[in-house]
Amino acid sequence: MNPFNSLSKFLNRLTDVPSTDPDDSRRRKILNIILIGMVTAAGVTALWMLIIWALKLAAMSDVSSILVPSTVAMISCLIVYALNRYWSGIVASAMFLISLMYILTLTDTPHELSSGRSIYLLAIPIIISSVLLNSRASLVFWGLISIQLIYLAQVAGDVVNIPAIMSFFFLAIISWLSSRSLEQALRDLRVINAELDQRVAERTSELSAAFFRETIEAGRREAILNSIADGVVVFDRNGLAILANPSITSLINKSQKQIIGSELNTLLDSPELKAGDRGSLTALLEKSAKDLSNFRVTWGKRTLSVNAAEVRDDANRSMGTVAVFRDFTREAELEQMKNTFMAIVSHELRTPLNAILGYAEMLKEGVYGQMNGRQHGVSERIMTNTQRLLGIVSDLLDQAQIEAGRLKIQMAPCRPAELLDNLRGVMDRIASDKGVGLVTELDPSMPPILIGDSQRIQQIMVNLTGNAVKFSEKGSVRVRVFPCDKNSWRIQTIDMGKGIPEDALGYIFESFRQVEWGSTRQHGGVGLGLSIVKQLVELMNGDVVVETEMGRGSTFTVTLPLILPE
């Protein structure tokens, strides 16, 4: 605590006058400062005189002319100080100023005071009054000083100093106006401060209310997150994990502490996750690619299904990614069992069906004796129906395999011409039975050999053509094979059938969906044909589109990448 500090503290306590009106408080403090200064000056002077007298450097009679006024001044100042501090600042200031006016007249002769060199002293009360009192006080004191000037001029026998009175008037005006504008500025400042305080108070209470709500919300969110059985991890834009719920810890064998704050790569760096799965999972979480949703990874002993979605704010900017991990082990096992079951069942269904087909064919070929026309026809009927049944079983098995991701496209050289011939071999009879023409067109600019899965391309052709014939009553079905550009080729089936209703276009490629024509199902089938076509085409990196017009017919166009042999 340095002495300067304590001195200024002491002085502050001495001069501060607490008052409800800040202007009043300020004025009284200024008066106190002046008084203390004057007391100190007078006190020092008196002391100095006493010292001189004590040291016998001068006689009391000499000293007393200065000692007495000094002492009187000191005592008067103290009285005014007491008045100022404990009673009224206005009274004290008025007394002070009037005393000052009187004392000033003692400093020189009346002549000098009213028209000579000391006239400027009389300006002092005018100026100070607007500081110690109300700003208009300067005009009041101008009045008093003017009276004094007139009296002094009278006493001195001079002409009244009108110019001085005029100058003092202007001085009073200036004092008044500047004091007034200062006080106005101070008042404005106080108003602004009060407003600011008000606003700060409002803001603070708004913020604390918001904070309180936020805490409750966060509590609620946390309760929700904690109760979700699936593991949830939220990553920010930079791939840092910022949130993880308790369920994730049991799925990936890391504690919440280990997860939160770590980067994606660190998180996936676990011996329980295979390298291949790790790469795909990183891609999924970094890009939240929609086509990788329902993505399965093997983590330790578990199979997890991972879904990721990007979180966007109101301005559609990316805020981060939410990843949900579900324990899919049981479902994966069930799926595995289902696929095994499907494979077994389909084999068990196909074996006897093939046997029936074989016997029917042998009957037809006369292996067991020559057949008459009707017997021949009947054995053909047996074959047709058995083939239809076999087709359905194959479709079901294909569908199961595609869903399990186990259907593989075998790339080998195949001939488009051969594919169309085989198509005719299968479909000619069916089309002619229905009375629908079948036309195949192989564009001459089509390469004779290309690389693809001939079995599956054949399947696509048969499914599309079969549908085209199925839904036609008359006219013909055209099957066109042609190159589209130097990188792709097309298979197109054009029929003149009923067309497809617009609302059906949304679902005809879905599994087990069929267009409902009234309540009777006229056309049979299980609804897998188009869905298998679409899935096969997609596995081959191609696409399939349909154009249709009700009552006029439909055109299905499959576009596949054109790969030529080396």
Binding site: H347, R350, N354, A355, G358, E365, V367
Partner: protein, 120 residues
Amino acid sequence: MSELALVIEDDEDLAEIFGQALGAAGFTVEIIRDGLAAQERIKQVVPTVITLDMHIPHISGNVLLDQIKADVRLSKTSVVVATADAQMGDALRGVADLVLIKPITFTQLRDLTFRLHQNN
């Protein structure tokens, strides 16, 4: 005197189809339903054609195939292999004379095996 075709097939229906097809193609057919019995029989006769189902019980189709190929007496015999597995079929294309992926129809079998006659 017609040529012998040996059908090694355990399934009754398939054996009938194979048998009838080869018969219709002009061969004398002998059907063996058991792998071990087949192993013995091929040491005794020299067929023109052997059809081998790769999925017979008691013995691996590959073992039988190797045995046939290793036998000098059977060097002129055509081996027709039948399997439901396309990948196995691909692997056997170099070894067998004809690879058939099941299911195979009667007419196809008859027409294909007709070409295997040696005395044309």
